[in-house]
Symmetry: C2
Subunit: 134 residues, 2 copies
């Protein structure tokens, strides 16, 4: 009655994801693995990340990208999207339960959670832009 197997590939993929702090897409994880000399195939990376997200081992990010992104950190948290470099950063503010309550009161839908994405410019890009000004 074998159901789930622990393979080298799965372990490598999840370890690599957790090392990457840039909220990568499945493709980015695949590329990283290739750089490291791994021969894990594209489809294996896509499948494992997708399955891990379904199992709740990793997080499938709610990001307004045209690509799905993953995060090793499964704690609920918000994201900041830099409109200059397109990078994704974590916000430090805690989950706002009351936002869900507000929606439950106002809207007729069955709300279970929400996500927030901030639009802004990250510190790195901000600094770079200020230096260009001079």
């Amino acid at each position: 009655m074998a159901e789930k197997r622990n393979t080298h590939q799965k372990k490598m993929i999840l370890e690599t994801l957790c090392e990457m702090k840039n909220h990568p897409t499945a493709y980015m994880v695949f590329e990283r693995l290739q750089e490291m000399g791994s021969h894990i195939s594209k489809s294996t990376v896509y499948r494992n990340l997708s399955e891990a997200a379904e199992e709740g081992i990793i997080l499938k990010l709610a990001i307004t990208d045209s690509d799905v992104r993953y995060d090793g950190n499964t704690m609920p948290h918000y994201h900041i999207r830099c409109r200059e470099c397109n990078g994704v950063y974590d916000s430090k503010i805690p989950y706002q339960d009351y936002i869900d309550e507000l929606s439950r009161k106002e809207d007729g839908e069955l709300i279970s959670s929400h996500m927030i994405e901030f639009n802004g410019v990250c510190q790195k890009c901000k600094k770079r832009m200020e230096e260009k000004e001079k």
Copy 2:
């Protein structure tokens, strides 16, 4: 010194978008136009929607989809994504300015706005699920 032209195609595309209340992707607008017997090409639909969004005439939706969606309603508002039918609905709750202030205080980034997407089940699907229960 002609800069911007008003073409039949542009007019038709924007009118069609505003008639559609389901926050369509560019492709969905293209399909709708075809159903209506229009011969407007795919690339024209994509280009016009993208340009209109840049000009602020329409809204490029912040939705955690793998596709970009557009909205004729340019008022800032939040969205509810139904996890059953995958539909996108508008929330009635007003924009929460203080969320931006909170992030500005806690995070170091230059925040200009945010978007919220609720995860839930829409009224239609809720009703359908309840009827199946019986």
